[in-house]
Each structure stands twice: as structure tokens, then as C-alpha cells.
Symmetry: C2
Subunit: 66 residues, 2 copies
Amino acid sequence: MREFELDSFPAAIDFVRRLADLAERENHHPDIDIRYRRVVVRWSTHSAGGVTDRDRELAARTAELL
Amino acid sequence: MREFELDSFPAAIDFVRRLADLAERENHHPDIDIRYRRVVVRWSTHSAGGVTDRDRELAARTAELL
């Protein structure tokens, strides 16, 4: 789980759009909680019962979307 | 709190974009949880300690965004 704080609500929504594009390309979809200009992102793999190497890689790539 | 189930993840993200536009116009921002193609929306007013008539109105308008 990682929380990202953006400068504004529209900036947070733009970040979610970029994240959603990544998720759709990868066909792997994180849980996303939007709290005004903070966005909580959780990558996990239900079928594996937790966090895999791929989840960790996608978490790192999420941070690059800022 | 209300949960909306869309047809796909991209459709859920488009719904969140429309919801975000409404929120920004109203300068009132709900909590939004994205769970693949399900979106949980909670309108509340922290300064009022709960749900106001305005929150209920915006919740009704959220359903019209589907």
C-alpha cells in the first residue's frame, strides 16, 4: 500500500487516469482509494493470496507516474 | 455510501472522471474507492460531522452520471 499526495484534486484525478491506463495495459488492476488530493494504491494478486514480484514492479512504476 | 458496478474497468474510470468533474464544479469531494469495475462513493461533510442534505442531493446526482 502506498499513498500519494498530489497538489490538487484535479491533479489527483489525472494521476488516477495515468494509473488506470497502466493497469489496463497490464491487465492487472490495483485497488485505488481517492481522498481529495490523496490517492492510496494497493497492488496485489488475489489468485496468489498476496503481493507478488509483479505487484512490486507495478508499484514502482506507479511512483514514476507522478 | 453507494456502490456502482460498471461494465468494465475503463467504464468505471470514465464514471470516476464524470464524478470528479461534478465534484470539482461543486467544490465538494466524495471519497471514491475503485475496485476493478466497482466504484464505491461516499458523500459526507466533515465540518458537519456526517451526511447533510447537500450530500444526499449530490449522491442522487451521482447516480445520474451512470
